[in-house]
C-alpha cells in the first residue's frame, strides 16, 4: 500500500516536472526541472530495489550530462525572445499526428500486454552472487556480454568522432 502511494506520487512528480521542462519560458529553469525529473526517476529505481541503477542515474544524468546542458545554455545567450514560427499551423498538425501515433502504439502495447501472461522472470537464485551491484555486474558480463561490448564500442566511436570534429588538424 505504502509502496503504491510512493509510486503514484513519484510518477506524478515525474510527469509534472516533464511538463514543466517543456512549458517554462526560461531555458535555465527548464534544465533545472529536467534535473528534478532525473532525481525522481532515481527515486523510482530505489523503490524498485535497484539502488545501483539509481546511484548511476544520479551520477551520470543529474550530475554529469545536465551540468553540460547547463554550461551550453549559459554560454549561448538565450535571453532574447524566441522568434515566431514561420508556419505554426503546419507544425501543430505534425505534432498532433506524431502524438496520436505514439498514443496508438502505447495503446496497442497495453492491449497486447494484458492479453499475454507476464513473462517468466529469470530466477535470481541462479546467480552465484548476492547484492545489487554484484548482480548487475554478473549479468552484464554473462548474459548481456555482447550488447554491453557493442554499447561500449558505440561510445568509443562517438568519442573519437567528437575529437575528430572538434580538432580539424590532428
Amino acid at each position: 500500500m505504502a509502496q503504491a502511494i510512493a509510486f503514484y506520487f513519484i510518477a506524478a512528480c515525474i510527469l509534472g516536472f516533464a511538463v514543466l521542462v517543456i512549458s517554462t519560458k526560461d531555458t535555465v529553469h527548464s534544465v533545472l526541472f529536467l534535473v528534478l525529473d532525473f532525481l525522481f526517476v532515481a527515486a523510482l529505481y530505489v523503490l524498485l530495489g535497484a539502488q545501483f541503477v539509481a546511484a548511476i542515474q544520479v551520477l551520470v544524468y543529474a550530475g554529469g550530462i545536465v551540468v553540460l546542458y547547463l554550461f551550453v545554455v549559459m554560454l549561448v545567450n538565450l535571453k532574447r525572445p524566441p522568434e515566431a514560427h514561420q508556419d505554426p499551423r503546419r507544425r501543430t498538425m505534425l505534432g498532433f499526428l506524431l502524438a496520436a501515433a505514439v498514443l496508438v502504439e502505447l495503446g496497442a502495447i497495453a492491449v497486447y500486454g494484458y492479453g499475454q501472461p507476464a513473462p517468466i522472470v529469470a530466477p535470481a537464485a541462479a546467480m552465484p552472487v548476492t547484492g545489487n551491484t554484484e548482480q548487475v555486474g554478473w549479468l552484464l558480463y554473462t548474459s548481456y556480454l555482447i550488447p554491453f561490448e557493442i554499447a561500449s564500442m558505440l561510445l568509443l566511436v562517438a568519442m573519437i568522432g567528437a575529437i575528430v570534429l572538434a580538432k580539424r588538424e590532428l
Partner: protein, 328 residues
C-alpha cells in the same frame, strides 16, 4: 539528527580553527576578543550572519537565487548518512551502530550526491546576473567536473582492492589485509588528496574565489545567511572529503596496527576517537596547505587535472588490476 548537529558545530569551529592556524602561520594571534582565545567567535559570527540584511539583487533570478545556497548545502550534509564513524558499540545496554546506514552502494552514493552539489555553484553564478559571479561559477564548475574524473578513478582502484562499494566493508577489508590502503595505494591516495583540495575549491586550487580577479567568487552577490550557507557548505565538504579519505585510505575507525596484539591496550580508546583524530589531521593539512602554497594559474590547474592526474589515475587502475589478477 545528532550527526547533523555535530557537523554544523564542527563546521563553525573549523572556520575558527582555520583563522587561528593561518594567523599562527603568519605570526599573528587571530581572533582573541570573544571568549578566552576567541573560542566563542563562531557563536558571534553566526549571530552576526543571521541578523544581517539579506539582499536579493534586482536583476537576479529570485527563485534560482534562493535555491542555489540550499542546493549546495544539502548534498554536503546528506553524504554523512553513509560515513561510518565506528563499528557497533554497546550504549546503555543497547546495540548501537555508529553509522546511519550501510547501503550496498555507499561509495557510489557519495560520488553521485557530490556531483549534484555542483549545481549550487553554477546556479549561484547564473542567478546573480552579474559578470564576476558568472565567471567564477564557470571556473568552479569546470574545475569540479575535471577533478571529479580523477578522484572517481582513484575510488575505483580502492573498490577493486576491497571488493565492495559499502563503506563499512571497505574498512573491514583493510582490517583483514593488515594494512591501510594509503600504503597499498599511495598513488591513489595522493591523487585523491589533490583532487579533494580541488573539489572543495581550496587553496592552491581556489581559483573560483580569486579576489584579485573576481572580487570574491560566485557568492559575491550573496549576503547574510545565504552567504553563510555557501560558507558552511564549503567547510562541510572539507569534512566530507577528510572523512571519506579516512575511511578509504586510513582504515576508518581502526586503531593503528589493528592486528598487532601487544598494542591491544589502545582498544581502551573508543573506535570513533580514532576516526575523529584521523579526520582532524586531514583537516589540519587542508588549512596548512592553504597557509603555505600560492594559488595556481588557471591553465596550470587544468593541465594538472587533465594531463597529469587523470592519466596517472588510469595507470594506477590498470596496475592495480594486473597485480590483483596475478596475486589471486
Amino acid at each position: 539528527m545528532i550527526v547533523l548537529n555535530a557537523t554544523l558545530v564542527a563546521v563553525t569551529y573549523m572556520v575558527l580553527l582555520e583563522r587561528k592556524v593561518i594567523a599562527w602561520a603568519q605570526s599573528r594571534l587571530g581572533p582573541m576578543r570573544v571568549g578566552p582565545y576567541g573560542i566563542l567567535q563562531p557563536v558571534a559570527d553566526a549571530v552576526k550572519l543571521m541578523i544581517k540584511e539579506d539582499i536579493t539583487p534586482v536583476r537576479a533570478d529570485p527563485w534560482v537565487f534562493t535555491a542555489a545556497p540550499i542546493i549546495s548545502m544539502v548534498p554536503a550534509l546528506i553524504v554523512y548518512a553513509v560515513i561510518p564513524f565506528g563499528p557497533e558499540v554497546r550504549l546503555f545496554g543497547r546495540q548501537v551502530t555508529l553509522y546511519i546506514t550501510d547501503i550496498n552502494v555507499g561509495l557510489l552514493y557519495i560520488v553521485s550526491v557530490a556531483s549534484v552539489g555542483v549545481y549550487g555553484i553554477i546556479l549561484a553564478g547564473y542567478a546573480s546576473n552579474s559578470k564576476y559571479p558568472l565567471l567564477a561559477s564557470l571556473r568552479a564548475s569546470a574545475q569540479l567536473i575535471s577533478y571529479e574524473v580523477a578522484v572517481t578513478l582513484t575510488l575505483v582502484s580502492v573498490i577493486m582492492m576491497a571488493g565492495s562499494l559499502s563503506m563499512v566493508s571497505i574498512v573491514r577489508a583493510q582490517q583483514s589485509t593488515h594494512l591501510w590502503y594509503a600504503f597499498v595505494q599511495p598513488v591513489a591516495f595522493l591523487i585523491f588528496f589533490i583532487g579533494g583540495l580541488a573539489e572543495t575549491n581550496r587553496a592552491p586550487f581556489d581559483l573560483p574565489e580569486a579576489e584579485q580577479e573576481l572580487t570574491g567568487g560566485f557568492h559575491t552577490e550573496y549576503s547574510g545567511m545565504r552567504f553563510a550557507l555557501f560558507f558552511l557548505a564549503e567547510y562541510a565538504n572539507m569534512i566530507v572529503v577528510s572523512s571519506v579519505a579516512t575511511t578509504l585510505f586510513l582504515g576508518g575507525w581502526l586503531r593503528p596496527f589493528p592486528n598487532v596484539a601487544f598494542l591491544g591496550f589502545l582498544d581502551v580508546v573508543p573506535a570513533w576517537t580514532w576516526f575523529l583524530i584521523k579526520s582532524f589531521v586531514f583537516l589540519y593539512i587542508f588549512i596548512w596547505v592553504r597557509a603555505t602554497l600560492p594559488r595556481y594559474r588557471y591553465d596550470q590547474l587544468m593541465r594538472l587535472g587533465w594531463k597529469v592526474l587523470i592519466p596517472l589515475a588510469i595507470a594506477n587502475l590498470v596496475v592495480t588490476g594486473i597485480v590483483k589478477v596475478l596475486m589471486v
